[in-house]
Chain length 197, copies 2
């Protein structure tokens, strides 16, 4: 029986080859030919999965978002403390480049960022990702308020925005090597402490 | 009398041509030849100012940092409220892409970011820039504490880190178009309010 390769699985492998290239040489270097070579397939084979470079880029960003979602879900599932503020903390920590996988994800994000500014389909994907994270954080903060874990008088929407921006800024500092994982976690915990009553 | 062109002024013009190219086509496209063409000088002329592409990139990042410093100083000088917390606010606002100049600066930052990760001289420049901003913010927060504008019990160093990370995250959101200048300013003001007694 011939080995059946799932088309989506092959697309994901190609997306990961694209990421590796983008991180090593910048996104501009990631042509269809270069990505095919990196993925170990012919250019014709690659074009069987992606008709254009644009389509390949869009898939790669969408897949990076999926991986982030998975990481967030995994972190939340591993969370033994059932309280909503512990979920907020786990969620924000999942956004920080604390290990190889999340570091790769954060680097992919930066590599695509500039290009996304000029590519509506890509920037939509970015904005949807942020809106979804904001929605998730706000949801947990609202639960925290109901369970008495969230200081009275704080604005859920504003606090969610502060937390998401904080995660973004801490990520950049960590990628650049100026901020350690311990330092970023301490800054986050310092901030979370004041959201509690 | 022949027109005397200041060498530093010419270097800055070349750096600005490099930025325009990097923003339009990504940093990878910014070869010595392409930047020379964008700046309207010959490649030989450009090499009179920069012996290598690496040297040109390093100058361009350093110059972007200088421009940011100038913007911060200008914002602080324009600030009519003499209180330290007003200076903190002006400083953080100067880091956000609220107008064409600061947007260009923020885009240059992102364009160089990935490359800086693999280039020690560039990442040093980035890290020095962040450390200097952190030092400035901490300085104002310390003054604010002395003048009674900063809530008792808050940690100056941690609050400075939160503010700098917040500025970074809000900038990314603004560049991507998901966050308006008004919204980012409201989030910052919301956060600053809690630092006051």
């Amino acid at each position: 029986m011939p080995k059946i390769v799932d088309a989506d699985e092959r697309r994901r492998e190609i997306a990961e080859a694209l990421w590796r290239l983008a991180m090593r040489q910048g996104l501009e270097a990631a042509s269809l030919s270069a990505v095919a070579a990196e993925a170990g397939v012919s250019k014709g084979r690659l074009q069987h999965y992606f008709a254009s470079r644009e389509e390949m880029l869009l898939f790669a960003v969408g897949y990076a978002n999926e991986r982030l979602d998975e990481r967030v879900r995994r972190r939340l599932a591993e969370q033994t403390d059932p309280r909503p503020m512990a979920a907020v903390r786990a969620l924000v920590l999942a956004l920080l480049p604390v290990d190889e996988e999340s570091r790769t994800g954060a680097l992919v994000n930066v590599a695509f960022f500039i290009r996304a500014l000029a590519t509506p389909a890509l920037s939509d994907t970015f904005r949807r990702g942020s809106a979804e994270l904001l929605r998730k954080i706000s949801g947990y903060l609202r639960e925290a308020r109901e369970s008495g874990e969230f200081a009275a008088g704080l604005d859920v929407e504003q606090e969610a925005k502060v937390l998401l921006a904080l995660a973004g800024g801490l990520s950049s500092g960590m990628l650049m090597g100026g901020t350690s994982a311990e330092e970023a976690t301490a800054t986050l915990d310092h901030h979370l402490a004041r959201l509690r009553p």
